[in-house]
């Protein structure tokens, strides 16, 4: 059987590794040596699980969306990560990493953010634990996600604008890495997705795996079945998708569908559809698939959704894509906004535009009837109201 998880060298098939300058080596190596040991400790598990339950509000519901199910002729279940504290799946990961950072004795936390959800989730756990927090955010994203910027500031974080490149998530990640290089001893970098040098992709995947751990149990309780027919999730770097896939990856009956941001169309030159447009290469510390020129320059991505506006995907996704285990598709800006409005009016749930990409793909699927489909509703749409308002003249 194919191994879809990380090997002892930090690779997923051809992808992964730790392509980092020497300045980061001691930090990343410390993490590599410690993370599995720390995570396995009874005391870590107790604290992690307790915070997920009492602070985040887990388990998040698995909700059978009746009117959506009627529309598609299949049982559409929504995994309600939007109901988590701070409004997205991102907090599952920051809770895990902040406990690890404390364990390693770090005093200063840095993070990158796109939509601001990871930044808010990081600022939140820093407030919770009394640690200094610096969040890098692209200048463009600061403008389009203003409510999240204000939340981070209110939580006591310093928000530093990234002004290079496309001034979005990729550039914020560059700035966070530069900060880490310049502060090698006291600083811990909480990466917000399943990207970065090994062991980050594996660690973040583990913290997000609670999504499918719960969904699997909930689905069995509600339907009597162990395996859904399909699971769907949107992919920026890919953390909610890996979390949603994790406990189904080795169950080959389950079709895994990852939805990328097509932007204005895959061939429009304004897209973030990484697997469609990308080639193998190295970005932000791991070998994966990324959008780039023939000369190896990273191409500026585009998506209406800040959280998906990233030119790469995590190495485990690259592996799932290349082996054919996962199906990778894309949805345009307009299709995602329409799907957001549709969910709102059929189910009374305003989704994040990121999550709306996953919902939009239901329009393209054909069902025989009665299939069980789980869609990861990775976040709520409060942060996106301005975009929705402009698009729909609300």
């Amino acid at each position: 059987m194919t191994n879809y998880f990380v090997n002892d060298k930090g690779y997923y098939g051809d992808f992964g590794g730790a392509y980092i300058p020497e300045m980061l080596y001691p930090n990343v190596e410390e993490l590599r040596q410690q993370y599995l040991k720390v995570i396995k400790e009874e005391s870590f598990q107790q604290e992690f699980r307790a915070l997920l339950k009492d602070y985040v509000g887990r388990p998040s519901p698995l909700y059978l969306a009746k009117r959506l199910s009627e529309r598609y002729g299949a049982n559409i279940f929504l995994k309600r990560e939007d109901l988590n504290h701070t409004g997205a799946h991102k907090i599952n990961n920051t809770i895990g990493q902040i406990l690890l950072a404390e364990h390693l004795g770090k005093k200063r936390i840095i993070a990158e953010t796109g939509a601001g959800q990871h930044g808010v989730a990081t600022a939140t756990v820093c407030a919770l634990r009394g640690l200094e927090c610096v969040v890098y955010m692209g200048e463009v994203d600061i403008k389009r996600q203003a409510p999240n910027v204000a939340r981070m500031k209110m939580l006591g974080a310093t928000v530093v604008p990234a002004t290079s490149g496309s001034k979005t998530l990729k550039d914020a990640t560059n700035e966070a890495m530069r900060d880490w290089i310049n502060n090698p001893e006291d600083t811990y970098y909480i990466i917000g997705s399943v990207v970065g040098p090994h062991p980050y992709p594996d660690m973040v995947a583990y913290f997000q795996s609670v999504i499918s751990e719960e969904a699997k149990k909930q689905l069995a309780e509600q339907t009597g079945k162990q395996s859904p027919d399909y699971v769907l999730a949107c992919v920026g770097g890919g953390s909610n998708a890996i979390g949603m896939f994790y406990h189904f990856i080795d169950d080959e009956q389950v079709q895994l569908i990852a939805v990328e941001a097509g932007g204005k169309g895959v061939d429009s030159g304004f897209t973030a559809a990484t697997t469609a447009k990308g080639k193998e290469g190295v970005l932000h510390g791991s070998r994966s698939i990324l959008m780039q020129t023939a000369d190896g320059q990273v191409v500026e991505p585009h998506s209406v959704s800040a959280g998906l506006d990233y030119p790469g995907i995590g190495p485990q996704h690259a592996h799932l894509f290349k082996t054919g285990r996962g199906k990778y598709v894309s949805i345009t800006d307009d299709e995602s906004l329409d799907a957001g409005l549709r969910l709102t009016q059929l189910e009374g749930i305003i989704p994040a535009i990121e999550s709306a990409h996953a919902l939009a793909y239901l329009e393209y699927m054909e069902f025989k009837g009665g299939e069980n489909v789980v869609v990861c509703l990775s976040g709520r749409g409060d942060k996106d109201m301005e975009t929705y308002m402009k698009h729909f003249n609300l």
């Binding site: 060298k9 590794g17 730790a18 392509y19 980092i20 300058p21 020497e22 300045m23 080596y25 001691p26 290079s164 490149g165 990729k170 560059n174 890495m177 530069r178 290089i181 310049n182 090698p184 001893e185 080639k279 193998e280 290469g281 190295v282 970005l283 932000h284 510390g285 990324l290 780039q292 023939a294 000369d295 190896g296 320059q297 990273v298």
Partner: protein, 255 residues
Amino acid sequence: MNRLQQLFENKKKDILSIYYTAGYPNLNDTLTIAEALEQAGADFMEIGFPYSDPVADGEVIQGSSKQALDQGMTLEMLFAQLKDLRKTVNIPILLMGYVNVVLQYGVENFCKKCQEVGVDGCIIPDLPMYEYEELYSECFKKHGISNIFLVTPQTSEERIRKIDDLSNAFIYLLSSAATTGKNLDVSANARAYFSRMRNMNLKNPLMIGFGISDKQTFDSANEYAAGAIIGSAFVKNLDPQDVVGSVGRFMKEFR
């Protein structure tokens, strides 16, 4: 023995290397700057091939890289610009850049081209030791290209010994763990680290880089190493209207 190894064989002190970005300030300045640097007394040089996401670099080299890319610079073009390099330039040349650009070019192709135009070595900061050993070292050796590793104050002794084993030209000692363009930290800590390195009796000579900006920082680096490398300070000084003149004026302080 390549030119780089020869240089370190013959010269043990006061070695000066200059970094600059290919295709900056004007697209076709690459060879002009190399010639001017040799004229002005540089011992060797590092030519950066630009990358869109240079995470180990500070503002100056981010800026020169971006401008070079905007002007149309590519690795392919760099090799074309360096085609007749060895007709006019004799000192050793290193290429410096990020691994993704090399990967897209193809490692074998890259090494072959380096050898063809007369490049002696490479610095690829985000190419890890494990991947270098497994996938690159053979190719580098075959084409006589020296790979240069970086060492920081946080690098363990065990790892430094390993790096010394894998190196065959010099070891690049970072003055501190920092992105390029910061000022040299000549604190007691840095001096202790430089002394520790010197006293390890490594087989490879040491060059100190990152933060060397003037004669004073160059001299203090020279107390501990075979020489020093200047990057951001040099790049900042390049005058697009008078490239050769600005190289000469900058170098006067040192030579």
